[in-house]
């Protein structure tokens, strides 16, 4: 069987290795326009900050691909014809396939700002290998940088540019930093931490226009509040969207919505064509379609795609949501999903930049957001699955601590605060009758 995989990110590579694991005879082609070898996109910031060399970003020794007989093909795919079972690269080369996996990931969202069309240099994103190179080139040009965004990539780019010695303004449209992941109190801790590291954090301002000089180099951004921020480097980190626009002009496009629409077996509308990772929009029975854009989800989908391509009757089943992040020095663990109908217990430690936020509904714990210390998310997800009460969870929370030896966070003050919170919220913390 001939398997072609478009995209050598974590979804594509996991799928390629997964196919090889189960089918020693399949021919596997891994196609990428971005890089010769799979690299860890999540580590771009460490390459920028001189902690890692380019080669260190590669999670597997290069010999693995030959040893596993995975053919690496460099090039951008220009055409897909499902009737003849072929794809065509920009070089003109045509590859035949029996199974095709599209794992082209995400691309940065394009902002609706005036003046963008005249920008020739100085504007960067921070998600691809090419972005990394552009950021390094742009960071050499001057002192002032503006990062627009309000999520993880924005703070990572801000940290990088601070490391490079630039004056960094972080422009956040929302009233606080990263509202989809953090509460306003958590965000306040993160923003204080960013300011401590010298980042000029501005919230509640929306960029309206970009100014450039005669050669198209960025000189400033202007916000709707009519404030002007001079900058020679403009980082645009306002989110990513599935990289699927190239599929609109191919001979046989698969069904597209936000991403490539796939069923629970990660099959697209075209026979023999699958999609996985950030570019896929998975239709699960009885649920709203999901576009997951995390390293973890891409890896999971890649694993499922491998088996599905080989004909196994497998369905993608997202586990209890979890994610991790690092905001300068503050590590964050998120497990489960918060909603406005839940009751929340929040505690901010005085001993260090650390906090706990737990939510419950109907007597059962539903979500955790834990900042500034380390936690075993699997245990926490298990407690959500077991519908344990907040009372019970607070009592055994130390079992899930994952801090270094001698460095454990003392949970005693949090438990005392919880007792006070429970007294003030008598309906919470008890299972419903």
């Amino acid at each position: 069987m001939r398997c072609a995989i478009v995209g050598n990110g974590v979804a594509g590579v996991t799928a390629a290795l997964g196919v090889r694991e189960r089918d020693p005879r399949a021919s596997i082609s891994l196609i990428s326009g971005e890089a010769d070898y799979f690299f860890s996109r999540t580590a771009l910031m460490y390459a920028f900050m001189d902690r890692l060399a380019r080669r260190d970003l590669e999670p597997y020794e290069r010999g693995v691909f030959d040893a596993q007989r995975i053919e690496r093909v460099r090039g951008w795919v220009r055409d897909l014809d499902a009737r003849s079972g072929t794809i065509t690269l920009d070089s003109g080369r045509t590859l035949c396939w029996d199974r095709l996996l599209i794992a082209t990931g995400s691309k940065p969202c394009r902002p609706p700002w005036q003046g963008l069309e005249s920008v020739r240099s100085g504007q960067v994103h921070f998600v691809s290998m090419q972005d990394l190179e552009a950021c390094e080139a742009a960071a050499r040009r001057g002192e002032k940088a503006v990062v627009v965004g309000g999520g993880l990539i924005g703070i990572e780019l801000a940290e990088c540019l601070k490391w490079a010695g630039m004056e960094v303004t972080f422009l956040i449209r929302e009233p606080w930093y990263w509202p989809v992941a953090l509460s306003d109190a958590e965000s306040a801790m993160a923003i204080a931490h960013m300011r401590h590291h010298g980042v000029n954090v501005v919230t509640g301002e929306t960029v309206a226009a970009v100014e450039t000089d005669a050669r198209g180099a960025v000189t400033a951004v202007v916000t709707e509040q009519n404030r002007r921020y001079a900058c020679l480097l403009l980082g645009v980190c306002i989110g990513v969207e599935p990289a699927v626009e190239w599929l609109k002009s191919v001979a046989t496009p698969p069904r597209l919505n936000r991403g490539i629409v796939v069923d629970a077996g990660l099959r697209t509308s075209l026979v023999g064509v699958f999609a996985a990772g950030d570019c896929a929009e998975v239709e699960l029975s009885g649920r709203a379609p999901v576009v997951e854009q995390l390293w973890y989800s891409a890896k999971r989908q890649g694993r499922v795609a491998a088996r599905s391509m080989l004909g196994a009757p497998i369905e993608y089943e997202p586990p209890v949501f979890f994610n991790s992040s690092k905001l300068f020095d503050i590590e964050c663990t998120a497990v489960g999903r918060f909603s406005a109908t839940m009751r929340e217990f929040y505690y901010r430690f005085e001993s260090r930049d650390a906090s706990l936020r737990l939510a419950e509904e109907g007597g059962a714990v539903k979500a955790f957001n834990l900042l500034g210390s380390r936690w075993n998310h699997k245990l926490l997800a298990g407690w959500i699955g077991e519908r344990r009460s907040l009372d019970d969870v607070l009592g055994r929370l130390d079992e899930a601590q994952f801090d270094v030896e001698f460095g454990r966070l003392d949970l005693t003050p949090a438990r005392a605060a919880f007792e006070r919170w429970r007294a003030a919220n008598p309906a919470a913390g008890k299972a419903q009758a």
């Binding site: 974590v10 290795l17 090889r20 694991e21 860890s40 999540t42 580590a43 460490y46 390459a47 920028f48 001189d50 902690r51 890692l52 060399a53 260190d56 970003l57 590669e58 999670p59 597997y60 020794e61 010999g63 693995v64 040893a67 596993q68 390094e136 960071a139 050499r140 490079a164 010695g165 390293w295 973890y296 890896k299 999971r300 979890f322 991790s324 690092k326 020095d329 590590e331 663990t333 380390r374 936690w375 075993n376 998310h377 699997k378 994952f402 801090d403 270094v404 030896e405 001698f406 460095g407």
Partner: protein, 356 residues
């Protein structure tokens, strides 16, 4: 990479095998060759009222550990494990490897290092040396090598020695810190390591046995006595002087800080075997790794930690000295050093990618 200031450029150059790194390496080689094979440092030591060149060396070594250790604590002050561990190597160096031996000499006692044991210090189980010591020293040497060292290694892994007590490890984890990432992570060097380190251990054990046999029956078997003494001289020259000293430290700026510990140290080999059977392990948090590679890059022992982390495989590697930098640097808190009794094994994904 953007290195804006000259200072930052120099720091990068020294730490990443640039021209200055080769100069530093050459200077370290030169220093060790002069120290071991000439008497040029003796007048310097006398001028500084330090007695012998070895006291001068001990003073420089201790200063390097104290200065490097202070930087280490400043840098990783937020991590209690790093602070405690670094203080431990600093205190052990000052007390047991520097002050106490001099105090003993002052009291007309043998110059004995309570922080070194056989097989790292071959003499301490060599009849010709050991039996000339006062009996408490003999008792300590034997009990430490055969009881204390293995028992602690069963409960805490080799780290209690290699990254908490040992002077070689102490220098690597303080003065050598800027070069820790230069250790090679390739699987070919892992294969070499497994051959080289156990070869030295076998050579060391055989030599020790021969020394006892020769001590007992050497008088009637002069050929054996002569062979053993030649063997001891060559072992001392190649292993103790060249591999541990000249190359071990001289290669810091080129091949990383643990060349001696990883490829040649018989003590590390022995402790590694015990560690594999003991309680120490690095626990990996399932599915949380982002494959960034900081753990592998900064492993001074050249362990490809990421290959375990990204496949959810908790592990114990014989070479791991438990410095804890992988856990410190992991941006997602995936790794933790533990000495817990074995648990039910986690579901470990057999990943073909790790088969080499």
């Amino acid at each position: 990479m953007i290195r804006t200031t000259p200072g930052a450029r120099l720091a990068h150059d020294i730490a990443n095998r640039g021209a200055t790194a080769w100069i530093v390496s050459a200077l370290l080689f030169a220093f060790y060759i002069v120290l071991y094979f000439t008497e040029w440092l003796t007048p310097v030591a006398r001028a500084l009222h330090l007695g012998s060149k070895w006291t001068l060396y001990g003073t420089l070594y201790t200063l390097a550990i104290l200065i490097g250790g202070s930087f280490m604590i400043r840098r990783y002050g937020h991590n209690r494990y790093q602070v405690v561990r670094t203080l431990s190597v600093m205190i052990v160096q000052v007390l047991f490897a520097y002050s106490l031996p001099q105090l003993l000499a002052f009291l007309q006692q043998p110059e004995f290092y309570f922080s070194y044991f056989w097989p790292l210090k071959l003499d301490y189980l060599t009849p010709g040396y050991l039996f000339h010591l006062p009996w408490p020293f003999i008792l300590w040497s034997i009990l430490a090598s055969f009881i204390l060292v293995p028992i602690l290694a069963i409960f805490f892994g080799k780290r209690w020695y290699c990254s908490w007590v040992c002077g070689c490890g102490g220098l690597a984890n303080t003065f050598g810190e800027p070069w820790r990432h230069l250790s090679t992570k390739s699987s070919a060097w892992w294969r070499f390591e497994r051959v080289s380190v156990y070869t030295v251990l076998v050579l060391c054990v055989v030599l020790t046995a021969l020394l006892f046999v020769s001590y007992a029956v050497g008088g009637t078997h002069p050929q054996l006595a002569s062979f053993t003494s030649q063997y001891q001289i060559w072992y001392g020259l190649i292993v103790a002087s060249v591999l541990a000293g000249v190359a071990g430290v001289g290669l810091y700026p080129i091949a990383g800080t643990r060349v001696w510990c990883r490829f040649f140290c018989p003590m590390a080999a022995l402790l590694g075997i015990i560690q594999k059977a003991g309680r120490y392990r690095i626990t990996v948090k399932d599915d949380m790794c982002i494959s960034c590679g900081l753990c592998s890059k900064y492993c001074e022992m050249g362990i490809d930690v990421r290959s375990y982390a990204q496949t959810n495989a908790s592990f114990t590697r014989a070479s791991c000295v438990g410095c804890g930098l992988c856990a410190e640097l992991c941006p997602r808190g995936v790794l933790r050093l533990e000495n817990a009794p074995p648990r039910a094994p986690q579901l470990q994904l057999v990943q073909i990618a790790t088969q080499r």
